[in-house]
């Protein structure tokens, strides 16, 4: 639960090999670490630094820029309730109030059983469907207190496991790029051929 596991180190090396420079793999590796532990641990940051040849401070600086990387334990389900204009007009605030009562926690905290973390979110870009929320970034539209309760019941009972994986999971099936389709370890300035997936038009004569 800290540094990357042996299996994940193997995945990490594959990810690193896709990029011209190891440092370019920093963010995918942070995703990998978050997938492993549910959040990005300090040990994982240090490990990623070793893998990509950066200092821990550099990895931390990059990681903390992004709000979707968490640096403290997060519940299995991260519930983001929108509070921006359209949702606020359509009952977003009341929904948050209800959610706090239903889960027994204030926004920004995690239930003691480690199942739910509740957070405010800014506009989720689905204003026509207000009020909205996301569970591990999966949308739920026109949420009412009743549908919210049902959602929580379903999540707690595991009925939505097939749709919503635990927090941190980027994808349940990992893509493997065959070596010949990867960019490979060629820095941009040394690249002589266009990548295989790009069709380059002949320069006009």
């Amino acid at each position: 639960m800290s540094r990357l596991t042996e299996d994940n180190v193997r995945v990490a090396h594959e990810i690193i090999s896709r990029y011209p420079r190891p440092r370019s793999a920093t963010i995918p590796l942070l995703h990998l670490a978050q997938q492993q532990d549910g959040y990005v641990t300090n040990d994982a940051i240090r490990h990623i630094g070793e893998l990509v040849g950066a200092t821990s401070a550099e990895v931390l600086g990059t990681a903390t820029f992004y709000e979707m990387f968490k640096f403290e334990p997060v519940g299995k389900y991260l519930v983001n309730i929108c509070r921006t204009m359209s949702c606020a007009l359509m009952g977003g605030e009341e929904l948050m109030h209800h959610a706090e009562h239903r889960l027994g926690i204030k926004a920004g905290s995690t239930t003691p059983d480690g199942m739910f973390t509740l957070e405010h979110a800014e506009c989720q870009a689905a204003c026509t469907e207000a009020p909205t929320l996301q569970v591990n970034y999966r949308y739920r539209f026109r949420v009412t207190p009743e549908t919210f309760d049902a959602l929580i019941d379903d999540l707690a009972a595991g009925r939505l496991d097939s749709e919503i994986p635990a927090h941190g999971t980027v994808a349940r099936i990992r893509q493997h790029i065959p070596a010949e389709r990867g960019v490979g370890a060629v820095p941009p300035e040394d690249a002589t051929n266009a990548p295989s997936w790009m069709t380059v038009a002949e320069a006009p004569k």
Partner: protein, 796 residues
């Protein structure tokens, strides 16, 4: 270099300069250089553009937006950050137009939205770019009435540097410096937006050797240095420009004091040398000058130990010792060691005293840890030449540890792709990361390794690409200088055009040797002197700022030498292990307590400032020498330090141009010529049988050790890492002991106990011990007579 040159009146015939770019700045025509940033061109044209993040020695990032000015490139005037755009032909720049002013005032107002107005209690107040530019370019009042940001204050980002986050304006200067210049990216912006702040990773402090520079370049009071925090107000400081003599790079400094106490050194930008940077050891070493342990009066040995005495009686005692020694064993039974820690004047006066008044040829400025002096007679490179050569060959100690600012310059050459570094080393160094090729050698075999490497076609092709500069010094104190000397001669045989930059470490070692602190005809070198003293053949040993017991690699030899010398005279700033044994100790004026000149590794002579009153009754070394000469019947004619400077110019080969007047007018000092030195004969490296159970010993210095100046600087003393024996992680199994356990490290000569550690910069089959650290003295294992040192490491 400067763009103002092109403003000078051109000769009658019109020469079209391809690098000239004609621009209009504030209505005036100006010829800038191609590639100059607008902000720089404007400054050269006399129009100052306010800025915080822009720094001449670092890449532009456009973070602070303070340098917004109206620029018209033909599409109408628009606001542009002038630190981000180079000049283009016909560009019209308005730095003081209403739009420019409004933009600058707006930025100041925004920066001050959260910046506390705690200037009266802030160390930066009085020399603060934010404060100054708020007055000169700010709106004078703010529309913000909200509560400002608060943070816990201050947080320590290293042992030396504190951070008050609420003052930070996020200019990226410190973080950029750490990454770009120092190569220690240990501080970074974290988080984003309103919560962005500079932090280190938890438990990984900003332990850079160059951390103090971030304090100097911080444009607000966010970063402060512990040794200076709350010590003085800038307007109470008096300042004099000087040169750092902590090592031999010769960085220009501003020495600042208040009420006759040294309080701070700041880096001064000298283009050929330090580019404004200092290492922390140099920057904070003023604490040692201020130490309460400094010697204040002459001491003479009595039955009750050292007792304070007057200068007159100490001088009389010393003269008596010298005349007695001459009577007992002749002039050549007197030997003088040292001079490398003072000024050129100090060294010259002592050289005159030793060679001309006493008449002994046994003089040495090195302490068994240098190279034959002939290395100074080679085709010498300047630092600029080294950092612009196509190939830099390192046959040197870890420059990051010994000559830190030279490390910065060579690192810059490598990362900016000006030069390729080929490194020969017994152990990975700070520059290994940046080296094009690093060839590790087992101590003693470097000449063979060099020859084999030069034979490789790829290496030969690289060496043929252009200028080659060899940086030469002692990478390993546990071997004699023979291996390195042989390797250096092998390199020069293959590359006769190559230039050599000596990597000798002690502050003024090049100056001291150049002006005469070296052996005369049939004289002894430092090891020879120590051997003679140990054999009882030295009637009087004179130590001029030298501490052989701490500095000579062979500790046993140093001890026997000081025990065997019949009489010892020491000139020193502190009581050291060596001066403790002296019969007469003269208190010496320290850095910033005396004027003079110093010479760096490239032969650049610069001035030293006399900023504060001497401690107690101490005197500069040259004065001690002049007085002793007088009492011995020869007037050297030195009435003031200027007399000595003039005498050096008159007498020393290569120093003809180094006059007080020349130094006065030359901002970057005067490059002395290379004098004539005896050529070095190729030494033979006698390697015994290599027992495969043994580890070959590598001993080298860390920046912070138990040197006298460091131990008396409280801020620096605690940074010394302490002693241990390091082996490669894969060698640990051979020893049968665990990391952290105490092990016996032994040679036939001695056994010491050190704790065992691993370090993958150490090569397999070798063991590395840092020199002059706390704990057991590794010098016990070193034999000055042996080519290399092999040790056995066993569990207790």
């Amino acid at each position: 270099m400067t763009t103002t040159e092109s403003n000078e009146v051109e000769p009658a015939e019109v020469i079209v300069d391809p690098n000239a770019v004609s621009v209009t700045i504030n209505g005036k025509q100006f010829t800038a250089r191609k590639g100059d940033l607008i902000i720089k061109a404007a400054e050269n044209a006399g129009a100052y553009i306010p800025h915080f993040c822009y720094h001449d020695r670092m890449s532009s990032v456009g973070m602070c937006r303070m340098c917004l000015v109206e620029v018209d490139t033909g599409r109408g005037p628009q606001l542009m950050p002038s630190c981000m755009f180079p000049v283009s032909p016909g560009m019209v720049v308005e730095t003081e137009s209403p739009a420019s002013k409004a933009a600058q005032e707006g930025i100041i107002e925004l920066l001050l939205a959260n910046h506390p107005l705690d200037c009266p209690v802030c160390d930066k107040g009085g020399e603060c770019p934010l404060q100054d530019q708020s007055f000169s370019h700010g709106p004078g009042e703010s529309r913000y009435i909200e509560e400002k940001r608060h943070y816990e204050k201050p947080i320590a980002i290293s042992e030396l540097v504190l951070l008050d986050r609420e003052r930070c304006i996020l200019c990226d200067r410190c973080t950029r410096f750490a990454d770009e210049v120092a190569g220690d990216a240990l501080i970074q912006f974290t988080s984003r937006g309103n919560t962005t702040q500079v932090t280190t990773f938890p438990d990984e402090p900003f332990s850079s050797y160059f951390s103090g520079n971030t304090v100097q370049i911080c444009p607000v009071g966010a970063l402060t240095a512990k040794p200076y925090r709350f010590k003085a107000r800038p307007w109470d400081l008096q300042e004099a420009e000087s040169t750092c003599t902590t090592c031999s790079v010769g960085c220009r400094t501003a020495v600042q004091s208040s009420r006759d106490e040294l309080l701070r050194y700041q880096g001064v930008d000298s283009d050929p040398v330090n580019w404004g940077w200092l290492c922390d050891k140099g920057r904070f070493s003023f604490e040692g000058v201020n130490s309460d342990d400094r010697l204040t009066t002459p001491l003479v040995r009595t039955a009750n130990g050292h007792e304070p005495t007057s200068w007159n009686s100490a001088n009389a005692a010393a003269v008596r010792m010298i005349t007695d020694a001459i009577a007992a064993g002749g002039a050549s039974s007197i030997a003088v060691l040292g001079g490398a820690r003072g000024s050129n004047e100090d060294a010259f006066a002592w050289a005159r005293l030793a060679h001309d008044v006493i008449g002994t040829p046994n003089v040495s400025a090195q302490l068994g840890d240098g190279l034959p002096v002939g290395v100074l007679g080679m085709n010498r490179a300047t630092i600029d030449q080294a950092s612009s050569a196509a190939t830099i060959i390192l046959l040197a100690p870890d420059l990051k540890e010994e000559l830190p600012v030279l490390y910065l310059r060579l690192r810059d050459a490598a990362v900016k792709n000006r030069s390729r570094i080929i490194e020969f080393a017994p152990k990975a160094t700070g520059l290994t990361r940046y080296a094009w090729r690093t060839v590790f050698y087992e101590p003693g075999t470097q000449a063979d390794v060099v020859s084999a490497t030069l034979a490789q076609p790829e290496i030969a092709a690289q060496l043929a690409k252009g200028e080659v500069v060899i940086v030469a010094g002692r990478a390993n104190l546990a071997e004699s200088s023979a291996g390195t000397t042989a390797a250096l001669l092998a390199l020069l045989a293959a590359l006769p055009e190559a230039k050599v930059l000596p990597a000798l470490r002690r502050g003024n070692v090049v100056g001291a040797i150049s002006v005469g602190m070296r052996r005369g005809k049939s004289g002894l070198d430092s090891t020879g002197i120590l051997n003679a003293a140990a054999a009882g053949k030295i009637e009087c040993l004179i130590l001029v700022g030298a501490d052989p017991i701490a500095d000579v690699p062979d500790a046993d030899l140093a001890r026997r030498a000081l025990a065997g010398a019949r009489r010892i005279i020491a000139v020193d700033t502190f009581i050291t292990d060596s001066s403790r044994l002296a019969d007469v100790v003269f208190p010496a004026a320290a850095y910033a307590e005396k004027a003079g000149t110093t010479t760096n590794i490239e032969g650049r002579v610069t001035t030293l400032a006399h900023k504060v009153t001497v401690t107690g009754t101490s005197r500069p070394d040259w004065m001690v020498a002049a007085e002793l000469a007088q009492l011995l019947g020869t007037d050297l004619g030195f009435g003031s330090v200027l007399d000595v400077t003039a005498a050096i110019a008159a007498a020393v080969d290569g120093f003809e141009a180094v006059t007080a007047e020349a130094l006065e007018s030359a901002a970057n000092g005067v490059l002395a010529g290379v004098g004539s030195f005896d050529a070095i004969a190729t030494p033979t490296v006698a390697l015994g049988d290599r027992n495969s159970y043994n580890f070959r010993l590598v001993v080298s210095r860390k920046l912070y050790d138990q040197a006298v100046g460091t131990t008396h600087s409280p801020s620096l003393a605690k940074l010394a890492p302490g002693g241990a024996v390091f082996v490669h992680p894969l060698d640990i199994a051979r020893i049968g002991s665990a990391v952290g356990a105490d092990v016996k490290v032994s040679t036939p000569k001695a056994t010491i106990v050190l704790s065992l550690a691993t370090d993958d910069s150490v090569q397999r089959g070798t063991a590395w011990v840092p020199f002059n650290q706390s704990g057991a003295n590794v010098g016990e294992l070193i034999d000055a007579a042996a080519a290399v040192t092999d040790v056995r490491i066993e569990s207790l």
